[in-house]
């Protein structure tokens, strides 16, 4: 089996606080992998390593190796825009840009292509295709000019997924994508992930164990910056190998 992401002894410090300790993990291609663990165990941190958005904090030191799509992302010849084009990210709170729905979807393409190189017809087609892939087209086809921030939260979050698609990413990172949504919105986003899973590799951080069981094929359990267990989701939940995992999946840590 191929791996989209491989880390080896990845350690990360915020200042002198160590948030990740020797994490070695292989994320399989074209599947949904979930990342669970108690609050503050470094799930977000690990996720943010994969497209190097962590570096923006300024006080971050990283050690070890991260290979994304077979390439070490700390190599000198890696271009950050290209990396982030290949590795999309969806955040905990839907964060569409405060511009129109239409421009939100084109934003990624526009920053990656020379000025005015996208024709109007192409743009229309790209927007339509992206919105259709996330099943928003019928709802939004008459609202393309409205501000994306005025949509319902669920639509906003789907839009945040849709705006990644024109860039043709290989991997989509999701940090608690449903925590701001209600049950219906959650279900909609989950279904969307399941449909897209063949085409994209998903990594989803979640506090909702039922969600991890529903959507993911493999599951990673982390605890205080360490990777404790990484197995098939069903196996991890029904037959945890580590005491900490078993405590967690049986809700023994709030």
């Amino acid at each position: 089996m191929n791996h989209s992401i491989e880390t080896e002894n990845l350690s990360l410090w915020y200042g002198d606080f160590q948030a990740l300790m020797d994490v070695s993990v292989k994320i399989p291609d074209g599947q949904i992998t979930s990342l669970i663990g108690p609050s503050g165990c470094g799930k977000t941190t690990l996720l943010r390593c994969f497209n190097r958005v962590n570096e923006r904090y300024g006080n971050v030191t990283t050690e070890g190796k991260i290979e994304v799509l077979g390439k070490n992302i700390y190599d000198a010849d890696v271009s950050l825009p290209e990396l982030r084009k290949a590795v999309g990210m969806v955040f905990q709170r839907p964060n569409p840009l405060p511009i129109s729905v239409y421009e939100n979807i084109l934003f990624g393409l526009r920053i990656h292509s020379p000025m005015r190189s996208i024709t109007r017809a192409d743009a229309d087609e790209i927007v339509e295709e992206a919105l259709k892939s996330v099943f928003l087209w019928t709802d939004l086809k008459d609202k393309l000019k409205t501000r994306a921030t005025s949509l319902q939260l669920e639509q906003q979050q789907k839009l945040c997924i849709a705006r990644l698609l024109p860039l043709k990413p290989k991997i989509i990172l999701m940090d608690e994508p449903c925590s701001a949504l209600d049950a219906k919105g959650t279900r909609a986003v989950e279904e969307l992930m399941e449909i897209l899973a063949g085409t994209y590799t998903f990594i989803i951080v979640t506090h909702n164990m039922a969600q991890a069981r529903r959507v993911s094929k493999e599951c990673i359990f982390m605890f205080l910056g360490e990777l404790i267990e990484h197995r098939e989701t069903q196996a991890l939940f029904t037959d945890p190998q580590h005491e900490k995992t078993s405590d967690y999946v049986h809700m023994r840590y709030g």
Partner: protein, 284 residues
């Protein structure tokens, strides 16, 4: 919040904005009158060409001071961008400048006004005592005017200019930084995560969002510069002229343009706060 409520709020907004514009207009018309009168007085004075009636030298100085303040405001905006967007919070230069700005920015601009006025007039006083210029013989004597006009290369001119820069820069830096900070992190992160470069994030997101507030910051600073110039004129009128006609016109002119700038900046601020308080665009 329900739709009815929202509509009521919007209506309130509109009404209050209309009222502000009416106030603005009613201030604007007298200013326009004064402007035209001063212009007429200036051309008259110039054609009369007697040094006693010349009003331009001190004015000349103050106009220079104003244009330098304007440049200082632009420079302050640039500084704020550099501090906020390029230097990390831990950088000592940033911390140093920010602490200076915090101290100076808290000083009400009237103190700078008094300081500048003091320098302006005490210098004239010094010149009188050392006999470089003739002391005014009586009210309305043209010598008083002469004594108040400094060649642009004298140190005192630079001290006055420096006072103005010290006044407008911290104000601009502080408010511009606040405007930049108000662009929510999630927006920036969204753009970065899509692969935008720092410059692209600034150009496509940060600047469009913060522009109104930055403009407001500039206007506020310009307003305090104008008010200070008005103060200098006011004191001049009060001290040195007995027929304060044209001079007090100028005083009114500067003071009212200061007021205009300040109202304009408040309107800008109002506009952007009402945009972000719009329930359809929740802030986070």
């Amino acid at each position: 919040m329900n739709a009815m409520m929202t509509r009521a709020l919007r209506k309130q907004e509109r009404v209050s904005q209309c009222i502000t514009f009416i106030i603005l207009g009613s201030v604007g018309i007298p200013i326009w009158n004064v402007l035209q009168k001063t212009y007429a007085a200036d051309t008259e004075a110039a054609s009369a060409a007697t040094p006693l009636n010349t009003l331009s030298p001190p004015l000349d100085n103050l106009y220079t001071v104003l244009s330098i303040s304007f440049v200082a405001i632009l420079f302050g905006i640039a500084c704020a961008f550099y501090l906020q967007e390029w230097l990390p919070q831990t950088n000592w230069v940033r911390r140093f400048i920010e602490s200076i700005v915090a101290i100076l920015g808290g000083v009400p601009s009237i103190f700078y006004g008094i300081l500048a006025t003091g320098i302006f007039f005490s210098y004239a006083g010094t010149l009188k005592t050392i006999g470089v210029v003739r002391a005014p013989q009586g009210p309305g004597d043209g010598a008083a005017l002469e004594s108040l006009s400094f060649p642009h290369d004298t140190p005192v001119f630079y001290i006055v200019v420096l006072t103005f820069i010290l006044m407008v820069m911290p104000l601009t830096i502080k408010t511009t930084q606040a405007a930049l900070r108000s662009v929510a992190t999630p927006i920036r992160e969204a753009a970065y995560a899509l692969g935008a470069s720092h410059w692209q994030v600034l150009k496509t997101q940060v600047i469009p969002i913060a522009l109104t507030q930055i403009l407001a910051a500039g206007c506020r600073a310009m307003s305090s510069a104008l008010a200070t110039v008005a103060l200098i004129f006011g004191i001049y009128v009060w001290q040195y002229t007995d027929a304060p006609g044209e001079m007090s016109n100028r005083f009114v002119l500067f003071l009212s343009s200061a007021l205009l700038f300040s109202i304009f900046s408040s309107i800008l601020i109002k506009l952007c706060t009402s945009a972000s308080a719009d329930p359809a665009h929740p802030t986070r």
